[in-house]
Assembly symmetry: C2
Homo-oligomer: 113 residues x 2
């Protein structure tokens, strides 16, 4: 079981801003997840993985695939107080869900270093 946060690397957000966007994605997707899967994920150590894409198009594409696969997901639109214009889509949260299910969607994506 895992949760994956997919960050737009092309926005070149700072470390703090990136972390805040991931927190929004994490919590948003968590609240849409199946309680039984949350329980399994919790027992499993609540693995969270942060990966990156290089464009808004990629982020939208992944959201569509997640939707088709019934993976709980949450797209973050920034309030725009700092660094980027209001309404910018920054990050997508997926899961928690089974590794195999999430890997179908995110396996090609590189970790955010």
């Amino acid at each position: 079981m895992k949760q994956v946060m997919i960050v737009r690397n092309d926005l070149k957000l700072s470390k703090g801003k990136t972390a805040a966007q991931c927190c929004h994605a994490c919590l948003g997707s968590y609240r849409k997840a199946d309680p039984e899967k949350i329980r399994k994920w919790s027992n499993d150590g609540e693995k969270k993985v942060i990966v990156k894409v290089n464009s808004l198009e990629e982020l939208f594409e992944i959201k569509e695939i997640a939707k088709k696969n019934n993976i709980p997901n949450y797209l973050v639109k920034d309030a725009g107080r700092t660094e980027i214009p209001r309404g910018t889509f920054t990050c997508l949260g997926l899961g928690p869900d089974e590794d195999e299910i999430i890997d179908k969607v995110t396996n090609d994506l590189k970790l955010l270093g």
Copy 2:
């Protein structure tokens, strides 16, 4: 209303690792928070702020003050799969709670850029 994640800057974690630690702190503290305060925070846009400290001692000190002020809090101990030794305390989540209550504990801390 806000939630604050306090990151140990002395560990020099990568952007992705920092984000993952903040997600653990965010979700951990969220689950300890008062439902009525969560509701107010949600209506308010779910503000999340990422700040930094420079040592484990500072992190522990803030946790103690949060505890004394009955602020929901969650200390993250890393599983140690990457970057740092297993069991390292990396991050503290506070709230959601009233701004004035959290500011008493975190107001001196600098934003993580």
